[in-house]
């Protein structure tokens, strides 16, 4: 199974995690048996295309949603049974920071909302410190979310998450809506904050080059399951699973000669997930007899590098 760096108890661990929505013929297996662990201070990237279940996995691992079965443990204790104060050690950051910011609250109130019982002066000091920690000015505390740019709002959402001194940040496509330069600023900010605070990060994105920049280890998700987990450079440059190979091949270089020489993706058209066998079989360019009969388990192929593929 995909384990983090060698240590007795991972900081955050999902075991046989399932998250289903609906029922009967409308049942959606958004997360369908995921084992994944995150070590203290580690940055783990989670990539996959829309509908693969990565946001559901993020929300379940952040404790926002309850698992259908399986469990998530924080430092060895079941996350969903922890009191709210302890659960806050896992914080969630969204793609759209508006989703977590109340438009009527000035920044001071927004970033200190999770800190009840502060006096007025303490609150102001705390807010100024948090805003400065994310590269804003203490003097911004009286401004409102609509006065800010997208990048600034994402900084405020980050300050708000940091207020409760989390151990884990789960960030769901936090940089996807931003321009390249602003994204580069935030990548740098996140790296600094992680270094200073020893914060672990589960970073969800679809931009593979960005994930490699941020995360040391990467998990690739498709149709509710992990298909590959391993060191970022190995997964993205020497992928074992044919689906990861297609994702890596879809990255467009900014060199026109290379971008045009890129061969078309080998994927076949059928995106339906079959009832049995490997879920990727209908699209897989390498599909073999066994793939249609038996679903592959995630197994370690090289040290720390696992793939769910019979042929890997």
């Amino acid at each position: 199974m995909a384990m983090g760096p060698a240590e007795a108890v991972p900081l955050l661990q999902a075991s046989a995690l399932r998250r289903y929505y609906g029922a009967g013929r409308r049942l959606v297996r958004a997360v369908d048996g995921v084992d994944l662990s995150l070590g203290a201070g580690e940055a783990l990237g989670l990539v996959g295309e829309s509908g693969c279940g990565k946001s559901s996995l993020a929300r379940t691992m952040a404790g926002i949603e309850a698992p259908t079965s399986g469990e998530v443990r924080l430092s060895g204790r079941p996350l969903h049974a922890l009191p709210p104060a302890a659960r806050r050690r896992v914080q969630l950051l969204f793609q759209d920071p508006f989703a977590s910011l109340d438009p009527r609250l000035p920044l001071e109130a927004a970033v200190t909302e999770g800190l009840p019982g502060l006096g007025r002066a303490e609150r102001a000091r705390e807010a100024a410190e948090l805003l400065e920690a994310v590269g804003l000015l203490g003097a911004d505390a009286g401004r409102f979310p609509h006065e800010l740019s997208g990048g600034q709002r994402q900084r405020v959402a980050l300050a708000r998450a940091l207020a409760v001194q989390p151990q884990v940040l789960v960030a769901d496509e936090p940089l996807s809506a931003l321009d390249a330069s602003v994204r580069a600023q935030l990548v740098r900010l996140l790296a600094g904050i992680r270094r200073d605070r020893g914060l672990a990060l589960l970073f969800i994105a679809h931009d593979l080059a960005l994930v490699e920049e941020v995360a040391g280890r990467v998990a690739v998700m498709r149709a509710g399951r992990l298909v590959e987990v391993g060191p970022a450079a190995a997964v993205l440059h020497r992928p074992l699973h044919p689906y990861t190979q297609a994702l890596a091949a879809a990255v467009l270089p900014t060199d026109p000669v290379l971008a045009r020489a890129r061969p078309p993706l080998p994927l076949r058209g059928d995106t339906a997930v079959p009832a049995r066998g490997c879920p990727f079989a209908p699209r897989c360019p390498l599909v073999a007899e066994r793939c249609r009969a038996e679903a592959p388990e995630l197994r370690e192929i090289a040290p720390g590098h696992s793939a769910a593929c019979h042929l890997a």
């Binding site: 295309e49 330069s181 920049e213 879809a250 045009r260």
Partner: protein, 329 residues
Amino acid sequence: MSAPLLAVEELCVQLPVPGGPLPAVRSVSFALGAGEALALVGESGSGKTSVLLALLGLLGPGAVVTGSARCAGRPLLGAAEADLRRIRGGLIGTTLQDPRAALDPTQPVGRQVAEAAALHLRLGARAALDRAAEVLAECGLPQGRALLGRYPHELSGGMRQRVALAMALAAEPRLLLADEPTAALDPTVAAEVLDLLARLQARRGMGLLLVTHDLGVVARLADQVAVMYAGRIVERGAAGQVLGAPRHPYTRGLLRALPGRGEPPQPIAGAPPDPLRLPSGCAFAPRCPRAMGICAREEPRAYAAAGGLVRCWLHDPAAPEGADGDGAS
């Protein structure tokens, strides 16, 4: 040389906003030949989408548009709404970032594609449906006929984008305007749609005006690139030149900000200027690592460079020796 398919000269757009007018596009000129692809690139607010909307006459009331734009010799700016409607969808096809904006959720997709064909090619209902099935197949939806009766919500995002593309192509436009055609798509689907666009463009000899912030998409499709900043084109040239050996400090900054280039992404200092309070001189000067005294005082003209142009004082013959010597990205 025959006249270009699309010729835009001195295009200016002012948008009505509180505290405005906002100079969204400032004196933009470019030309695009048949079969050629030109990409307008830049960050949010750089004016690239306003250029596209101005060409289509879709900026809305209150916008002030000056300059000239001609497609196949026909004037686009200030044309009567009836003429514009014939041009849009006929001479010029359009595909936008969000295909849901182009598709009517209450109509089966076949009828929508057929309508575009019927209107501009003067086809009867049966011939128009045949044409719809044909163009859907051409857009990589081989179940063409079976698809005609489906509704947009029954399709995946990639299929909807292909249907929107089929609508844009149904009337065999000579020019396709594409605004972030793959931004809403997953990477593997986006790669397939880009391959399709490149194939269709080559096969039809169609002009393509692409608006995007994604330099990978630019590299895949564009022959020419025009980089916009604060409403102006600051650099223009062949795609290989602009992406491989950029001359404007802003273009260099855009490339260095991307991950996956062998070094950590480098942000450009500061933030884009408030368009209502543009700095005097070069609008990029306050963020520019190479700014000189004159940059803050006087706006540079466009200097010819390697078959393109660059609007930067570093390229003035009187600039200090080696001012442009910093090499490529």
